[in-house]
Symmetry: C2
Subunit: 484 residues, 2 copies
């Protein structure tokens, strides 16, 4: 089996071959931390979390770098407008770095809740100003960039491959009316590497070209180079970053180093809400903190992974409700297995071994096909159906079989997909052992009272339990209970 990844650069699924044997360097564009994270962030970072988890499962030694943008991202992609961080800091009347701390914390809080494993390095743009200035200097020296009035621009006509990632042609770009004309630029498609800071602009650093701040595209080239070298195995990000962000990264990095910048470009698709693009202006913007009020973070994670990372994902209450039911079903099966394990007979062979091998192959085949998580989840669910049949057949299942089933869930549902909690126990399903034991004792006491025809007392127990939301149900095979 070979892992194949769809590569935005080559427009086909390429076999994954890292530059240095089993070492993989991966860089994913992180959030611009001026507000709480929304569902679009979740789609991107949950998807790449599974990419990293799967690579580690395949025994690659992965260094995962995901930056924090805390300067230079302007409200307008064409190098105009205000700095997003500064604008919001002025609104909240705090120092920009206070704003950054607040939203970095909020971001990781949400990611942690969804079981997204932290990146190995989370470098910040403001923390790498010298590296960025150095890169601009190199580009000016090599003739790819020019200075005008304290700002430095990249001359896209000097770099032959400009457009190769996004497939855009320079002539079309320049003819396009959507690019605002900046009189400082030699060509409309040139982009800022360094911006002159006007008086009153709080975030500013000294440079060879006067006081200013880095252009947004610059940080990713400078920081990925610092921590992963000049050529990355994988660079990931949202589809909306292919142009101009990643196209500019390619240009400035390859112009500076004379080497291929990225071997595999991966882009996750967008989130829509009830079929419409999610945006602040449409008012259908869903922050994760709001989404978590209605659905558990694990349900959101499961929902995201039930669609391919590079397909769009539509958020609706119906879809989330279905995801919620789906993950509950999966968890119930896992919990049943754990429950049976408590008093399973041991010393017998695993009668499920072949099934496990079969579903493992299906799971891995799906993952190897460009991280096809819906396919992998389908394998997990088909497997669960077989497990449920086995458990409800009435015969006692051996400890060996149950343990193998359990490892399957732990490795594929847990370690790789992250949709079965690692430390799964009954508390996480909302029950506690002591509570269960108390309810059982009450139910048994009631049955004894009924057998002794003490109707009043037995009815009292039932009605008191009902008040607590616990419903007793008398069935031919005995009394069961559920929470209302």
């Amino acid at each position: 089996m070979t892992l194949r990844i769809y590569n935005t650069l080559t427009r086909r699924k390429d076999e994954f071959v890292p530059l240095h044997n089993k070492n993989v360097g991966i860089y994913v564009c992180g959030p611009t931390v001026y507000d709480h994270a929304h569902l679009g962030h979740a789609k991107s970072y949950v998807s790449f979390d599974v990419v990293v988890r799967y690579l580690r499962y395949l025994d690659y030694k992965v260094r995962y770098v995901q930056n924090i943008t805390d300067v230079g991202h302007l409200t307008d992609n064409a190098d105009q407008g205000e700095d997003k961080i500064l604008k919001r800091a002025q609104m909240e009347r705090v120092e920009p770095m206070e704003l950054v701390e607040k939203y970095v914390r909020s971001y990781f809080e949400d990611m942690d809740a969804m079981g997204v494993i932290r990146p190995d390095i989370s470098p910040r743009a403001t923390g790498h100003i010298p590296e960025q200035i150095e890169l601009v200097k190199t580009l000016v020296e090599k003739g790819y960039a020019y200075e005008v009035a304290g700002s430095v621009y990249f001359d896209v006509h000097k770099f032959e491959g400009y457009g190769k990632l996004s497939g855009r042609k320079l002539e079309e770009l320049e003819a396009g009316a959507r690019i605002e004309v900046n009189p400082e630029k030699r060509h409309p498609a040139d982009f800022a590497l360094w911006k002159h800071a006007l008086p009153g602009h709080l975030m500013r650093w000294k440079s060879l070209w006067g006081e200013g701040f880095p252009g947004w595209h610059l940080e990713c080239s400078a920081m990925s180079m610092r921590y992963l070298g000049e050529t990355l195995d994988i660079h990931g990000g949202g589809l909306d970053n292919v142009f101009p962000h990643h196209e500019c990264e390619v240009a400035q990095s390859e112009a500076a180093n004379g080497k291929q910048f990225v071997r595999h470009w991966m882009h996750n698709n967008m989130v829509t809400v009830n079929g419409q693009k999610m945006s602040k202006s449409l008012g259908n913007f869903v922050t994760l903190k709001d989404a978590f009020k209605k659905y558990s973070p694990l349900t959101i994670r499961f929902f995201i992974l039930s669609t391919r990372y590079n397909s769009p994902l539509d958020y609706s209450d119906d879809a989330l409700g279905a995801a919620n039911k789906g993950i509950e079903r999966l968890h119930n099966t896992v919990l049943n297995v754990l429950e049976k394990l408590k008093d399973a007979p041991s010393g017998e062979a695993d009668i499920f071994k072949e099934k496990i091998d079969e579903y493992k192959a299906l799971f891995l085949e799906a993952m190897d096909d460009d991280f096809n998580t819906p396919g992998a989840i389908a394998a997990l669910f088909d497997f669960s159906r077989e497990v449920n049949t086995l458990l409800s057949a009435g015969q006692r299942v051996s400890r060996e079989t149950l343990e193998d089933i359990n490892s399957f869930y732990s490795q594929f549902g847990g370690e790789i997909l992250g949709i079965v909690p690692e430390s799964f126990d009954f508390k996480m399903a909302g029950r506690s052992d002591i509570e269960d034991a108390l309810i059982s004792l009450l139910s048994e006491t009631r049955n004894k009272l009924r057998a002794a025809k003490h109707w009043q007392l037995s009815d009292d127990i039932r009605s008191e339990l009902t008040k607590l939301g616990i419903i007793l149900e008398d069935k031919p095979e005995g009394t069961t209970w559920k929470k209302g």
Copy 2:
């Protein structure tokens, strides 16, 4: 009432007057993140957490900056030795920034557990290289610093006030044999602002003096200046940082700005273990993660606050055991108040108003006296004794009285000292409402069975509960229960 703070600089308790009305800028030296945090860190950051909480209680608008040292802190204070981060990164075979991420995360995890409120800004030394280079440049230009072979040193003889914070005299320092002689230094007491990086030194930045890295003292001056201005209201840190770290900060900051650097210098004392200095070489080094295995983070917090921040604190199992009992006693009283509030009669006056005013005055008087937390805790405990007397007197206490008592705990024990959890409810004490209700129902059922002389059934309930660790106790006033 006026807040007075012991000032290491003036060697007396000074009245606290911030530079800008109700705005307070406070800077505390943060951890060098090359290992897990230990008890010494807890003593410092819990103490300053209460300083910040109390200033906020007094309606100051506080900006709390606490740095992360991720470069430049050498294994030897006299500008020699290896970089602590680099050394450990080589040992763990990771990129230095991976190491930093790991231990920053670990640090905040431990602090969060103890209820230490995060600083408003946590700037990193590597994130402020341009600011540090700029400061060195200013000091060279003003004649306070000199370059030798790519390193820059501060000339302590040029700065008149050198020694004023620590009280050390330059002549004595220079006569002292403990300072290693660095041939590049003009005087033995000079200190490094910028160090030349030898080949192979991974953490290096270009500067006017070639590739190198900042001296440890430099970062705090550069970052405090950036986020709090040239004069700080409060600068805090451990007593072992008075010399050389803070002495050097004073010299370089005041030499550069020509202004007083810090108005109030606060230093917390050290932690000893069973009377001995805590150190790695003595093998009595206690990390917080290890301490948390034996004691709850809140017990550690309470233990720290039962001694003044500027007195030494001796860690021993006896002392921690006592702290554990103390905080449990306090929490039991608070829980009792909450319990009584469930069905307290309302519409009556607060009969405890005067007592509350009295203890509030005692509490604030202690805090105003240089953050005397043991005094404040004593007030809280004396108050609790009166509350316990009131609650056990048998008469029904009004909702108004209980609510006022509850606010007292929430504000002084919770908001200021952080030793009563904000969201205190029965779950945190290990009980759950539903569990309580189920046990009550079982107990009542048993009493009804006994009344009807169904001894077998009633005994069954009792013995089943005992198996679950719940002990029923029949008393004249009714049946109570406790957990074994």
